[in-house]
Symmetry: C2
Subunit: 362 residues, 2 copies
């Protein structure tokens, strides 16, 4: 969103010697290719139902490798996607990916609490990293991930698919162009009723948090990319109506977030109800927004002057292709690690405000 | 909303002697009538465009008197509504209304900062009082108004028209019946772009506050009547993008509000943008809400299972008739002074949270 000069400087400086210094294959071959080769790390629902199919539609990215802890999946995936045997890894052989020139990027699709470790290890193995949101369990982990990618001269991007989706892009453009005047407020919320009480998303160590970390991040991101600003102060409250199911993580959180320009945001996230999947941006001469906003497809946009018309795209394919192009053209991603870090800083402020009962100034 | 036994007790106890004790005409004649006679106090836009026309449609209430500081309006209104000369007052003759048995109720439509004084004087003159929202500039004033009406055995109601509107009533019923399961969150907001910078609404002494007092109260009320609960804790933030226009009162406020059952509310109000005029209630098996919610007409309701169908009514006529029936049947109003007081307590907590940067526990 905003220029981040330190990062630009670091990545330029790092270009000079990182690859040889660390003595690993850095897949620089990608620079002369038109396609970047991806390995998916973690073959759960998102990889199975969204990412692998998306990688069949990408122009600049190809699925060539997998990392899985489930031996049975090795054959299924090899058969379905023509994965070569030498491109199949498990969590014990993961670091050997450094010897594999065929793989340019790993896409980390593990539980949140494993993002930092597997990103750092991938960077040290000379691989670029696309990491699912939320970036990590804490801002400290985010910084470790950014540093590891910087030190190894590898690119890092976070799986913020919405920023590559045309309805969202139109809303961002409506905000930037001040088509409806200057932005005054944003309402954003995303929640759903979570099922299986034994899933990793309800485990604090693996998930880092509850609804806020998983889906609240979409609402938070929306406030940030619509305004192009970072929150200046945050207040928040949490409620837990099922203390057993949500013993370790947050159930429902509402929060307010004030931006430096004066835009005032009011947001919600929950694991206890569905139907909130939207944002509305209010400007002094009109409004615009999406509802549903954060689904994989079927988004609908409205403005005070009529509907938003935008094409339906595979958001994951768009996100993956965008990162592949960054690698091919040696550009920084617009959703680089710093973008994930900024979200985690706001997430931590929300949790801090809940704990302290105070407004947290950032 | 909720039973308020102290009040019931006081008003029963007061019935015995108040009228004779205070030596004023208390219009007890109303008890044997089928119609209650109203005088409008303050003939601004609301009285002119909404209340007087509504009083032509009421079944149990009749417009018989006016109180105005503008001599020119005396004749216009007398001609238009057949107001008798002896039922026309100005602010110097206001207290003489005590000698007028023709007037049962005064409807206070003055700027907020004058509500307390004119309510107390009306009660002391033996008149029942319907007072526009917000009830007063402070909870202290609300208490004075309640006490004055109690002491004079007069009924007091606040102009909460939405509680008498069928779409809102259906939403309240959907919440109470738990048709969509147990309520988890409410999003509510009301704002508009305020015009003339010299109007009383931007004057702290007359208005008591800005957007929150004027229209935020609708969102606050909605959270309260949908949940049937009083807020337990509140956090809030204010932004002012036009510090000159909003030198004395608030421009835009967002707030969170947690109810004892765990319902978590996220709300907004503003004088700086339009388009937010809605509420959505999220329950564990579905959702329902209105958008627009707080307009005088044309309300639209949706639920997760389809549209809310409800008749269009004159909300002011419904509100006035409801109070008239309370008087005729000697019942307490469902929107009695205590209802206004509860809103002011929450409003004060919102302002306190903005000032202190802390969550305010109520």
């Amino acid at each position: 969103m905003m220029p981040f000069n330190r990062r630009d400087f670091l990545s330029t400086a790092a270009t000079i010697g990182a690859a040889s210094t660390f003595g690993v294959h850095t897949s620089l071959a990608a620079e002369s290719k038109s396609t970047v080769n991806f390995a998916l790390v973690g073959l759960g629902s998102l990889s199975t139902n969204q990412l692998a199919p998306a990688l069949q539609k990408t122009k600049h990215a190809k699925l060539v490798g997998i990392v899985t802890g489930t031996p049975k999946k090795e054959k299924t995936w090899a058969d379905k996607y023509g994965i070569q045997k030498q491109n199949i890894y498990n969590y014990e052989t993961y670091d050997k990916i450094r010897d594999n020139e065929d793989i340019d990027v790993v896409y980390i699709v593990l539980p949140n609490g494993m993002h930092a470790e597997y990103t750092v290890r991938a960077a040290e193995a000379g691989k670029h990293v696309l990491c699912e949101k939320p970036m990590a369990n804490s801002s400290e982990e985010c910084r470790q991930m950014i540093a590891a990618c910087d030190q190894n001269n590898r690119k890092l991007a976070i799986g913020y698919r919405c920023q590559f989706e045309p309805h969202h892009q139109q809303c961002i453009e409506l905000a930037r162009s001040e088509k409806f005047g200057s932005l005054k407020a944003v309402e954003a919320g995303f929640g759903f009723t979570i099922g299986d009480p034994n899933q990793w998303r309800l485990d604090a160590k693996l998930a880092g948090g509850g609804a806020l970390m998983d889906v609240g991040v979409y609402a938070l991101q929306a406030c940030r990319y619509l305004t192009g600003e970072e929150p200046q102060s945050i207040t928040a409250q949490e409620t837990k109506t099922d203390p057993k199911k949500f013993a370790e993580v947050d159930e429902t959180i509402t929060w307010t977030m004030k931006m430096p320009s004066g835009v005032n945001c009011f947001c919600a996230t929950s694991y206890a109800f569905r139907g909130v999947n939207r944002y509305h941006a209010y400007a002094d001469k009109g409004w615009f927004g999406l509802d549903p906003a954060f689904s994989y497809g079927g988004l609908r946009g409205q403005t005070s002057e009529g509907a938003i018309e935008a094409p339906e795209v595979d958001q994951f394919a768009a996100e993956i292709d965008a990162f592949a192009k960054c690698i091919l053209e040696d550009r920084e991603s617009s959703v680089a690690g710093e973008e994930g870090l900024r979200d985690l800083l706001a997430v931590e402020a929300i949790y801090e405000s809940i704990q302290s009962g105070r407004r947290v100034d950032l």
